[in-house]
């Protein structure tokens, strides 16, 4: 119906600000919120740019020496790089002849030749990188950006899915009640009576590793909180007088559920979405750290931290710092944005 009215509007009349517009205005007045929005926006842009290959496209290339120092530590000695640099790359291949048992043996030669070719064209490895390098000499900054892409993408998509599932089921259960409500409540009870960590691990145990899997797991296990909230909102709104009035004028159930109530509870879902992005980013990092998350050939903040654990013991702290700090910045900004959003969206006018 909104489409009908807007199209028919005589153009001279100005539209009054709706609740969303007012919420946006409130948010704009909140300086902290706006700064956080900018930070989150920056990370999102970074994610898109990284996805399109504009930045961090060659994160997997070994551009520096092993454990290249960050640029501000340029003067210090790098023992590990010196050790590795002393031998040729080929010397790292085990010398024992394994061709009898190794099915790949015939191909080693071919690979070695290829490696040799690449090595010829390879630019000399850098001694220092902006934020240092990892064991293989990959640029930590680029890895952090690429890792941000993975982590944010997983968090965002999973949260979006969880919110959609939670809102839809919560709406159904809260609005319809009765038998449908009972079945959905049962479903909810089943999911929540298994401790959350175990639920995730159970899913992880039976599914193959991959980006889509981890998104699926997080969404499948994370919808319950949203369901609960949306359900209680729907119950509250279904008995509100404006919905009764809609019933009185003959609006159908579908219309009441989606056209009348949904816009009035969607702010709850939005805040939940934002909260779950944070929660899921944290979860993804842990799962990837444990090797249950992203596949081995991609990078996320979690896999970076996994590498960093061993690096720290030999004093190479920069990968840990890069992943930890960039995640902390994003998550702080996102959490504070969530708080601001909640304040801005809280409709004190009922």
């Amino acid at each position: 119906m909104s489409a009908v009215t807007t199209q028919a509007l005589p153009s001279r009349q100005r539209h009054s600000p709706g609740l969303w517009t007012l919420a946006w205005r409130r948010l704009k007045r909140d300086k902290v919120g706006m700064v956080c929005l900018a930070v989150v926006g920056f990370f999102l842009l970074l994610m898109i740019a990284s996805y399109l290959g504009i930045v961090a496209g060659n994160w997997s290339q070994e551009v520096g020496v092993s454990y290249a120092h960050p640029i501000f530590m340029a003067g210090e000695e790098n023992i590990e790089a010196a050790q590795m640099g002393s031998g040729s790359v080929a010397s790292n291949v085990p010398t024992a002849d394994l061709s009898d048992i190794d099915p790949l043996a015939p191909r080693y030669r071919e690979w070695e030749e290829r490696t040799a070719k690449i090595q010829v064209t390879e630019t000399p490895r850098a001694e220092t990188l902006l934020l240092g390098g990892d064991k293989w000499g990959r640029d930590v900054l680029q890895k952090a950006i690429k890792g941000a892409e993975t982590s944010i993408f997983v968090g965002l998509t999973a949260a979006l899915l969880a919110t959609i599932i939670g809102t839809f089921l919560g709406g159904l259960s809260g609005y319809l009640g009765g038998r449908v409500g009972d079945v959905l409540e049962w479903f909810y009870n089943v999911f929540t009576s298994i401790p959350y960590i175990l639920l995730i691990l159970s899913f992880a145990a039976v599914l193959r590793q991959g980006l889509d899997t981890i998104i699926f797991i997080l969404a499948c296990t994370g919808w319950t909180g949203i369901y609960r909230l949306v359900r209680s909102e729907y119950i509250k709104h279904a008995s509100r007088e404006y919905v009764k009035a809609a019933q009185a004028i003959g609006a159908t159930h579908t219309r009441r559920m989606f056209v009348h109530i949904l816009p009035n509870v969607s702010h709850v879902s939005l805040v939940q979405l934002s909260q779950h992005v944070v929660q899921f980013i944290k979860a993804e990092v842990i799962l990837s750290f444990l090797g249950l998350g992203v596949p081995v050939d991609s990078v996320s903040w979690g896999t970076m931290l996994a590498e960093a654990q061993t690096e720290l013991v030999i004093g190479k702290w920069w990968q840990l710092a890069a992943a930890g700090v960039s995640m902390a910045i994003l998550v702080t900004a996102f959490s504070m944005l969530t708080d601001s959003l909640r304040d801005a969206l809280d409709p004190k006018m009922k």
Partner: protein, 569 residues
């Protein structure tokens, strides 16, 4: 004895601002001054937003610290001491001991997790230096004194185990426990039924007498004021419009606002064609313009009956456990007729089932029995599809103007929704035209079409809700407490609008309300309900002049009479 001459409480140049979000400041109270003499009742009267409660809370220093700013020139002298200058500890010695307060909502004002005995004893051991045992014994006496039966038993009850009236009695027991000199009563009876209201007012009056305390009574209800107050302070928009003795206020009000407030409230003794509204008093010749012509009401023999309800009943099923459930009857065997162009008033206290009748006959609740004949068809037997045709002919206006409009729809969308659902207009252009015409009819400007509900006041929202019903040109309009949440002055305007529309469209109204005066004013016939039973149905004048049932008599006897001349003492 010299301090007996000075007033107990003097409020001087009190100004209170509230910091709002976005850095704006709202002037809630603008430089007001008034006094509360010893051993007397002062009523602070005003509509919502007049600053009356805020002023009273400032006396107790209970305003929220973060947002309320009391202007530095303000003085609140209690027996000569400026309360605003007292230390935190100093004011705590006053609170509950010298000045105490009772609030509007007794349920939420009592702590739900402590017994009422605990809560009364707490204040006694705090200020009266009593041992725990003594405090409990005194608490029991107090409960007896405020009229709670079985006080020895009730003292161990939790607040939720008591009725609303008893909860308010407990609040009063707490308030008088330490024999205060001043009792602030902030709308103490607004949330209560009219019969309970009477009991509480009587109780307050007798306690005031016995304890020789002063009462600062805050209310919007002038009828209550007339019964209890010695002095009246009339407030509007944070300013005092008039203050004088009750006699002067009621017999010779000076300020047009006071005059308006006094006359726009319907009263049981007369029924003007049109209720006066505030605007009537503000012009140059003021009160002179008020017409005194009276309206005749009542069903007559040749009335066409549009709606005939017989033996309507409604049970709610309460789930108790998985398999067990219990039926609770909300409406038992209600029968009545509604004549075209006439109004049937439905009165009763909370829980009487009056609202359920309205919702059930238009099938917002499923009925449990009986029939509703409309145009010769039993609405309750129709399939959902067949009922659709009839839906638009019975419409409803709800109580809460803030909840009955979808906040995400513009007024235009709200008005055009029923038109599209019932295909009442040929095209979009016609829809808009109809909506615009209706806005004009209910007295709202054309720009309202593009605005959202939050931009309107309560009265305006009720007009929008009425306009929404009018789009469907209903035969029957159910007004479910539709004016109860509105301020008196706005109430009069909306009642006038409803009357005009009835005269114009010959609609029939079912007017549901707990407010006996309003029902008397607007109804032709009145149906009295209690606990789901219909007590009495008759023409409204007959019911009010000559009630047949005991319950009706009790109900009518509880209506505040307003000013009846000086109190005898």
């Amino acid at each position: 004895m010299s301090d007996m001459d000075q007033p107990l409480l003097q409020v001087r140049n009190l100004g209170i601002d509230f910091r709002l979000e976005g850095g704006t400041v709202f002037e809630a109270v603008k430089n007001i001054s008034f006094e509360v003499p010893r051993n007397s009742t002062v009523a602070l009267v005003g509509e919502s937003g007049s600053g009356k409660s805020v002023s009273a809370m400032a006396v107790m220093r209970l305003l929220p610290r973060e947002s309320a700013i009391v202007s530095p020139a303000s003085e609140i002298l209690f027996e000569g001491t400026n309360l605003l200058k007292l230390s935190d500890e100093g004011i705590r010695g006053i609170r509950g001991k010298e000045i105490s307060v009772i609030f509007q909502e007794p349920m939420s004002s009592l702590n739900p997790v402590f017994t009422v005995g605990d809560q009364i004893a707490e204040i006694l051991s705090l200020h009266m230096d009593l041992s725990r045992k003594q405090a409990w014994r005194r608490a029991e006496e107090l409960m007896h004194e405020v009229g709670i039966p079985d006080s020895a038993l009730r003292i161990k009850s939790f607040p939720h185990e008591l009725s609303g009236g008893q909860q308010q009695r407990v609040m009063i027991a707490i308030a008088i426990a330490c024999n205060p000199k001043l009792l602030i009563a902030d709308e103490p009876t607004t949330a209560l039924d009219v019969t309970i209201q009477k009991q509480i007012l009587d109780l307050l009056a007798s306690l005031q007498e016995r304890y020789r305390m002063s009462v600062l009574f805050i209310t919007h209800d002038l009828a209550v004021v007339g019964e209890i107050a010695d002095h009246v302070v009339v407030m509007q928009h944070g300013e005092i419009k008039e203050q004088a003795t009750a006699r002067r206020i009621f017999e010779a009000p000076q300020h047009p606002y006071t005059q308006a407030l006094l006359s726009c409230r319907p009263n049981v003794d007369e029924r003007p064609m049109r209720l006066p509204v505030i605007a009537d008093f503000l012009g140059p010749d003021g009160a002179a313009r008020i017409k005194r012509e009276q309206r005749r009401r009542g069903y007559e023999g040749d009335d066409e009956i549009v709606l005939e309800v017989s033996h309507l009943s409604k049970h709610f099923r309460l789930k108790e456990g998985i398999f067990k459930s219990r039926d609770v009857a909300a409406v038992k065997d209600a029968s009545f007729k509604l004549a075209r162009g006439k109004t049937l008033g439905l009165v009763g206290e909370s829980g009487s089932g009056k609202t359920t009748v309205g919702l059930t006959l238009m099938r917002l609740h499923e009925s449990s029995g009986g029939e509703v004949l409309f145009d010769g068809v039993d609405l309750l037997k129709l399939s959902e599809q067949d009922f659709m045709k009839y839906k638009r002919r019975i419409q409803i206006v709800f109580q809460n103007p803030y909840a009955s409009l979808n906040p995400r729809f513009t007024v235009g969308q709200i008005l055009m929704e029923p038109m599209t659902i019932h295909k009442l207009a040929a095209g979009n252009r016609e829809c808009i035209d109809m909506a615009m015409a209706l806005l004009e009819r209910v007295g709202l400007p054309e720009e309202s079409f593009h605005k959202y509900p939050h931009e309107f006041s309560g009265g305006q929202r009720q007009r929008i809700a009425i306009a929404r019903c009018l789009t469907m040109k209903p035969d029957v309009l159910i007004c479910d407490e539709s004016v109860s949440a509105l301020d008196v002055s706005v109430q009069a305007q909306v009642l006038n609008l409803l009357q005009d529309l009835q005269d114009e469209y010959r609609m029939s109204y079912i007017f549901i309300s707990h407010d006996l005066a309003v029902v008397k004013y607007i109804s032709d016939q009145v149906m009295v309900m209690s606990d789901g039973d219909v007590i009495e149905v008759a023409n409204s004048d007959d019911i009010y002049l000559n009630p047949q049932q005991e319950y009706t008599r009790k109900l009518l006897g509880s209506i505040p009479k307003g000013w009846q001349g000086e109190k005898p003492n």
